[in-house]
Amino acid sequence: MTCEEARDRFEDLLKERLSSDDVSALRRHLADCPACSAEFEVWERQKLTVRLRATRHQPSLDFEQRVRRKLGRGEGFKDVAAFALRSLWSGRSATIAITVLVTLIIALPLYHKYWIPKQDPILLVVTESVDDYIRIGLRQSSPTTLPDPLRVKSWLENRLGFSPELRFWGDNEYLFIGGVPTYFLDRKVATLVFKGDQSLSTLSIFPGSDLKMPEQGRRQVEGFKPYLGSFKGYQALFWKQGQLAYVIVTAAGEKELLDFFLKVRKSIP
């Protein structure tokens, strides 16, 4: 057995996946070859070190329960669907079931169109921008270098088809750390991310000439009257300026939110 052949079998030797003949041949080689023997010892130690000393990341205690619930939920739905299909195609009730199904198919769109009240678009802006904030915030790690605002702006312009008008691209208190195109209210949105002292804030900019500012829920801030909403414990500040609409979402307190708003608002021509 050559040294190369011997070293190629180290893995299988440890996992006891060699035939007895191969094990004997390899053991003989290791006994005769000090270089391979030493190499095997280091190799085995390294493998053991990684196995025993690398951190074994453990899921939280309730994680298994959560996965179990999710898997169970899938079962419930599939069972109901299977039962419905079986019922549909067996027995005398088939005609009734088909009639009910056809009625529902026709009635549901009409119900949605005429009976369900339309949700206020500004509330949708708040909920969707908060959802984006959570999604982006969870992914974000501390950047090692800060992005060039001009590059991000031009990158967003190319993807969105409009220019996110803004002159405030961060300062010492609110570092600008990135931009991402998102999508809500059936329109493209430029979402910029700033890192404050305590938490992240997102500023979403999108075409909003068709949106109306709500009468209620507005705050007086140095002559400006943005709308303040909240969702899932996060605050969102919405306002319009020219053809564009702006919404800031943050986990920070109201004072920091309004401070950030003023910096952004005053910078826009």
């Binding site: 190629d8 280091v42 493998k47 000393r53 898997l71 974000q140």
Partner: protein, 188 residues
Amino acid sequence: MGRAEFEQAVLESLESLYNISFWMTRNKVEAEDLVQETCLRALKFRQQFKEGTNLKAWLFTIMKNTLINHREKSAREVLWNSQRNDEVTADLPRAQGNEISLQEELALFRTLARVDIDSALMKLSDELRMTVLLADVEEFTLEEIAEIMSCPLGTVKSRLHRAREMLRSMIRDYTPSSGKTLEPGGHA
């Protein structure tokens, strides 16, 4: 295999899936999402699982594919000007003038702390790190790793060899006298 039995078998691999998932995403929420999606996909496509084969390896294959999908989606969606750690591939030649004997190397392995091992693993590229973790921590065979990583057996062997050489190189470089650390980017 019945559904309940299959579900139980999936849950038995949960800790292993989470461990590797966390190593690859380095984020609790993403790691949990990835494992949950893997389990749901496994359940959805459980008819495709061949009984008698290794379920755990099959689950890891699904998780690897899911991770790749997430990464591709994420790459399309987000522009971060900061350098992502997972794009950093350790490229470490052996330290010049810092040759140590195999015996010294052996002794060094015994003294390494968990944080040093973790740090050295983090300096490997995603593919190399996943290969070495599957082989050494989860103890998959090379053939199973080839199946999980969807690559030829020879590629797994060369990746494993390369990963081990790089880890050894980093560890050799980390002698107390060198004054160097295993922190990412701190080897130079």
